[in-house]
Amino acid sequence: MSAVAAPQASGYNFAYLDEQTKRMIRRAILKGIAIPGYQVPFASREMPMPYGWGTGGVQVTAAIIGPADVLKVIDQGSDDTTNAVSIRKFFAKTAGVATTTETKDATIIQTRHRIPERQLTEKQTIVFQVPIPEPLRFLEPRETETRKLHALADYGLMHVKLYEDISRHGHIATTYDYPVEVADRYVMNPSPTPKFDNPKMHMSPALQLFGAGREKRIYAVPPFTKVRSLDFEDHPFEVQRFDKPCALCAATNVYLDEVVLDDRGGRMFVCSDSDYCEERRADGHRGELSGEAPHLVGGAA
């Protein structure tokens, strides 16, 4: 599917938010870019969707999007889930912008919990929906204290947590929301992306913006910025590995979702990034199950 433009609905300001709100969010975004990884408080608004459905990401996208932008929205890597479809329709309706499912065509990618497999470019901005922006929150519930810890760059608590993982499980058992250190200073929550995606944040050519609506925080990682996953010398950071390639497109070195096929233990592993998988199938790549039920799993290709 290539980019599709829709007429803007009447009765809304462009991209839903009023101009004063956009200015407030834009000021927060600029501070976020200037202080990489630092959580900037902002006056998050009520949005026409519940908290937890991406209200932070939606507000950031609404503040940056313009008529020439092409928007892609993914939820766990997929363009086709309820959250992604709803948000895409929301902007098609209130901003009249073109939307797409193809990573390469998008100028703004709003995401819940994945970074696309295809390398992002300097022309792109990725907006993360963040539920809990504070990496130290479950270790120290008081905002006054976590503020101090960030001010002092005192991240000992986080290292203790990772160490306890090792003492209990023999390895760092954190698999998503894996804490990163940005530009040698702030420890930041990358949002609940699998740790598989953490290396993609390091020196990314794309601008990365993060919005947490309920928690009222915006933060950012500028392009070409160091992002280091916390680890220990004797327990270096590692991403997940999969035993098999994608069952539909045979891709390796991608993040896979498990899909249960029947009630007898049948299951398959397929690309979490639906656009990447469709593109590979269109290019003729075939996985071990792609011939099994072409009407069900063959996709648009």
Binding site: N13, F14, E19, Q20, K22, R23, M24, R26, R27, A28, I29, L30, K31, G32, I33, A34, I35, P36, Y38, V40, P41, A63, I64, I65, G66, P67, E122, R147, K148, H150, A151, L152, A183, R185, Y186, M203, P205, L207, A220, P222, P223, F224, T225, K226
Partner: protein
């Protein structure tokens, strides 16, 4: 023209504010790049159209504004900014969310502007300086977040001791000020993270 006449802001406030913000955001995210800043507004001199466009894009009743002596001495400029933004204009640069500087040679030292606190480094001043010319090559070498290896920037005029002031600004990170530089139809930025040296 009557004494009360105030010239126009953006013809299409929604779309033009977004376009100017888009340029500014990318300028700040990628130090050493220069972006289009059309600033098609009828600003009263000595307020340049680019300074006016930046104020119209980002400043309102929630963001305080500081003006340098050149701008603060002009009643048409004060009237224009008060009418279009509704911002409180402050006399102390340390209190300002945004500072507009028309005469870079006569501006206060960077340390006199709001630096933020260790816990809230975002509560600092964004200083917007009107300059004569910007170029992606020139006498300044930049490194830091937003720059792949190194970048160049040419700023004319460049106040004499700015490099040492910016080094002091960088040294107190995460506190510090961010600079936005505007020339005719152009914008560039030096966030507090950027290391600046003269070559």
């Amino acid at each position: 023209m009557s004494a009360l006449a105030i010239t126009a802001g953006f013809a299409d406030p929604v779309i033009e504010a977004q376009a100017h913000f888009h340029s500014l955001m990318n300028a700040l995210a990628r130090p050493g790049t220069v972006h289009a800043f059309p600033a098609a507004v009828d600003a009263p001199a000595p307020l340049t159209p680019e300074l006016a466009a930046l104020a119209l894009t980002l400043v309102d009743h929630e963001a305080t504004l500081w003006l340098d002596a050149t701008l603060a001495g002009s009643k048409p400029v004060l009237d224009y900014l008060r009418f279009h933004t509704g911002a409180r204009i402050v006399a102390d640069p340390a209190e300002a969310a945004f500072a507009l500087v028309a005469d870079a040679g006569a501006m206060p030292r960077l340390a006199e502007f709001g630096q933020g606190t260790d816990e809230y480094p975002d509560r600092s001043t964004t200083i917007v300086i009107a300059v004569a010319a910007l170029a992606t090559s020139g006498g300044l070498e930049l490194t830091g977040p937003g720059i792949e290896a190194r970048a160049s920037l040419g700023v004319e005029p460049w106040p004499g001791d700015f490099v040492s002031q910016l080094a002091a600004n960088r040294a107190q990170f995460p506190r510090g000020v961010d600079l936005v530089l505007v020339a005719a139809g152009q914008v560039a930025a030096l966030p507090r993270t950027t290391h600046v040296s003269e070559v």
